[in-house]
Amino acid sequence: MSRIQKVFARLGDEQRTALIPYIAAGDPSPDQTLPLMHALVAGGADVLEIGVPFSDPMADGPTIQRAAERALKHGVSLRNVLEMVSEFRKENSSTPIVLMGYANPIEAMGVARFISAAVEAGVDGVLVVDYPPEEASEFANALKDAGLDPIFLLAPTSTDERMDSVAQIGRGYAYYVSLKGVTGAGHLDIGDVVSRLPNLKQRLGMPVGVGFGIRDAASARAIGAAADAVVIGSRIIEEIESSPAGEAPARVQAFISTIRLALDEPVVESAR
């Protein structure tokens, strides 16, 4: 059982929702990434999604693009991100890490080299935003052979056939983007998301995390009542952006703790 699967199994037993924050590696500066990762875990994160900066993040909104730009100003590369993961693993051997990013930095390193380096660094899952299932079956198989989980995105507009192909080639969990658009967009239709989750979970046969548009305790709690995990990205990046130098880890930990509390409160009413 992979580290990701273990976390979801444990949380399932405890009837709790996983909390998956996202930060971009190297944002606001490379020396802040490790403290931020530990702060997220201390604040109650179950899995960490670590963004690999890319010059052309087509699927991300302006907030996450700014984070990538800040990281790239410091010259942060995929190799550096893997080094950060290795460092993190020296102190934390239990929290799964999912690298999230775009295909080109991985292809530039070479898929085989990337996969062995990721295993060595202690990465658990990989989500390549611009590898949809039709372009990724070889890559996903190579990840699985190496013991890494290929994570795929699904959207409200994804057909049953697409869910089935993610069920087939994905592993660990699937990441349901809860609204049309890019990361950081508004207008989250919670009722719509919650109503779609049962079919999704059944078809996929793996845990489903929901993200894109979750910004506060209330929306996290409402989604968390139906999803296996909630993913929060842009809101954390905003917290980092607005923090005075050096204070980002403490501020992010305080923020993520409020989400953790909200998720762990017993649900009284329906999510609507």
């Binding site: 890319f54 699927a59 190799r79 295909a103 372009e135 507009t157 049309k180 890019v182």
Partner: protein, 416 residues
Amino acid sequence: MPAGSQISLLECAVQMADIPYNFPDAKGHFGQYGGIFVSETLIPALAELNEAYKFAQTDPSFLAEFDHELKHYVGRPSPIYHARHLSNHLGGAQILLKREDLNHTGAHKVNNCIGQALLARRMGKPRVIAETGAGQHGVATATVAARYGMKCVVYMGSEDVKRQAANVYRMKLLGATVIPVESGSKTLKDALNEAMRDWVTNVADTFYIIGTVAGPHPYPMMVRDFQSIIGRESIGQMMESFGRQPDCVIACVGGGSNAMGIFHPYIPYESVKLIGVEAAGDGIETGRHAASLSAGTPGVLHGNRTYLLQDPNGQIIETHSVSAGLDYPGVGPEHAWLKDIKRAEYVGVTDDEALAAFHTLCRMEGIIPALESSHAIAHAIKLAPTMQKDQLLLVNLSGRGDKDMHTVAEKSGIQL
């Protein structure tokens, strides 16, 4: 085929089916290139577009409407002009110019915009969006949007907005909203990213008109098909005026739409050499250029796998060319494939060589070419003297140079 007649898109497709070259495959791959490298959120939009285009592509009423618009609105067919003065001066092969500069809006870009706008109309999308670098594709999109009564939003890097004020004003005159993009390098690639984001968010009522043969499937194929009017006309015109096909076809390549438009119908004509000319900027050895095929490596950007200008870490690098229309770090995936299978050859022409060719064509033929097209002219000027006088070089003169007056004057140290 009767001399002088232009072969239709449908006939062309049938003709292509008989020969080994039949790309892309059903999933948009040209060998290892092309494909659909996009986020899941874009998949349904692309699937819808693919279905609509699959139908339109062989629908006689759609094709007739397209041809009608090209004839009456664009002013097609564009002539092939024998540049005798220049040819005699060079003393080698005869240089023939396919005059896309005479199209309405002054370049080949409008061919594709009409095709995609007609498709948008069929799909019931009242709003079109586009990305633009120098503004040519933006102007062409704003033009057809006005023609068909569609709402139009054009994304343009804020650096380009500053550099191309006249084109920004043109788009506004035509009723379009121009949105300056402040992210990344604030140029064409960032405008493309932003347009994609708009599309993902507004796909229900919005059609994204991509300006070149790049992007996720079906764009490279669809834009190629709409632009292939250039090559299809040329094949008929060459028979009519010269009784044979050219020895060589030359076109400039940024994203590669004018080149693919003239190359594609010629692919089965094995004796016709195809040469794409990339922007070598200050010289490939300086690193300041936009020659993805000559100096790049394969990777994934903007929805397709193709040759890219990137650093060793896979980050896309900033490009340089005197011609804004060639200033792009990628290239259409079919060009990548034609390079690898050696059906086409790709060479570089520097800023200085392109500028010299610009002046030569102005003086010797009374034609002011776009700086993009000047790259193709420059290569023809190099090549012609090495060939026989009875050989024919067909150059795609993809656009006129009115838009480049400021750039050329500045390079000559003249203030307008």
